[in-house]
């Protein structure tokens, strides 16, 4: 558990160094994920080393974003002032994405080649 957590934080740190060093607008933790994916594929890092820590974090992922959501109470004024664009854009866009991804993926499915 401790080794896995240390490795995950190390990869996050490496990603953070690249993100800040290059000034790319890509978050350090996402770069850390890509670096870890490369390290796993190249077998520099064994799955067993990180499995326990990674599974623990992913199983509780939902909990970690509760404080981020609570922070919205600081911005009630802004939301109250612009609730219409915020709510309409959120609702419509969610259904647009499901339609676009679902329809395209359905067409390209290997099993669906000769289907309608």
């Amino acid at each position: 558990m401790v080794r896995g957590m240390a490795l995950l934080l190390l990869f996050q740190f490496l990603g953070e160094v690249i993100s800040r060093g290059t000034g790319w607008p890509i978050p350090g933790n996402v770069l850390g994920m890509v670096l870890l994916l490369i390290a796993l594929a190249r077998r520099w890092v064994k799955v067993e080393w990180i499995e326990e820590a990674a599974e623990f974090l992913l199983a509780n992922l939902a909990l970690f974003f509760v404080p981020a959501g609570v922070g919205v109470m600081m911005y009630f004024d802004l939301i109250a002032g612009e609730w219409l664009p915020i709510i309409l854009a959120t609702f419509i866009s969610t259904f647009v994405v499901m339609a676009v991804t679902g329809k395209i993926a359905d067409r390209l499915e290997p099993e669906n080649k000769d289907g309608p």
């Binding site: 799955v47 509760v66 994405v97």
Partner: protein, 231 residues
């Protein structure tokens, strides 16, 4: 003495874990998708803080400690992506094209609609990554200069919306393949949508899980590119 205690991390961490554990218990007992544990916890904690007159800054002493774990969690998403690499490669065309189209559609439709409806620059920027899993969405929005808490709230709302309506919506559109349905709900509604798809169909759930990571990556690269035209 008690008021001093509220300013220690013990309060924020303790309150978050306690409320979340109760919300999880409530969800397991009722199985009402609208009683999503994250949504219920956020609402309950805000209500508690407001009704007791506790400033957000006091809560954040501990809240930030819980939030910190989002960072290594994003890095940990590399594990399921690595484990499902064979499924990814076998269906690479439908997965990559479907998610990429959804990622572009999400950014353009969310930010574009907000812009057309007269939303401020802050709101338009904060909406851009709303279909991506929260840790990645927050990182993106902090990089481009939006409001992280607003994005976090919209990500949760988007997640609940896709989880509640996604499977039925896809059926009405005539999408029959479980992989396509999973990709659609996972791309639009990240982890909360994935949890719902796992209840409906295992293969659809796996596809949705894949979409969380891939959409996160694609949106991370797409948002800065698309917003070049926006400024």
């Amino acid at each position: 003495m008690i008021s001093g205690l509220l300013q220690t991390p013990l309060f924020g961490v303790g309150l978050t874990l306690l409320v979340y554990a109760l919300a999880q218990w409530l969800y397991r007992r009722t199985h009402k998708i609208l009683l999503n544990p994250v949504l219920v916890s956020i609402a309950a904690i805000i209500l508690i803080l407001l009704s007791c007159g506790i400033p957000y800054q006091d809560y954040a002493q501990g809240g930030d400690l819980v939030l910190f774990l989002l960072g290594p969690s994003v890095v940990a998403l590399a594990l399921p992506l690595y484990q499902r690499r064979r499924d990814i490669l076998k269906r690479k065309k439908s997965i990559f094209v479907g998610i990429a189209a959804g990622a572009v559609a999400s950014i353009v439709s969310a930010s574009g609609l907000a812009y057309l409806l007269g939303g401020s620059r802050l709101v338009v920027l904060s909406l851009a990554p709303k279909s991506v899993t929260t840790p990645i969405a927050i990182s993106i929005v902090e990089k481009i200069g939006g409001l992280a808490p607003l994005t976090a709230a919209l990500v949760v709302l988007t997640g609940c919306l896709g989880a509640v309506c996604g499977p039925e919506f896809c059926r009405k559109l005539g999408i029959r393949s479980p992989v396509a349905t999973g990709l659609a709900v996972g791309t639009a509604s990240h982890g909360i949508g994935t949890a719902r798809m796992l209840e409906v169909d295992r293969l659809a759930g796996a596809a949705a899980g894949l979409a969380i990571g891939l959409n996160g990556l694609m949106t991370t690269f797409l948002v800065p590119c698309l917003f070049v035209f926006f400024q």
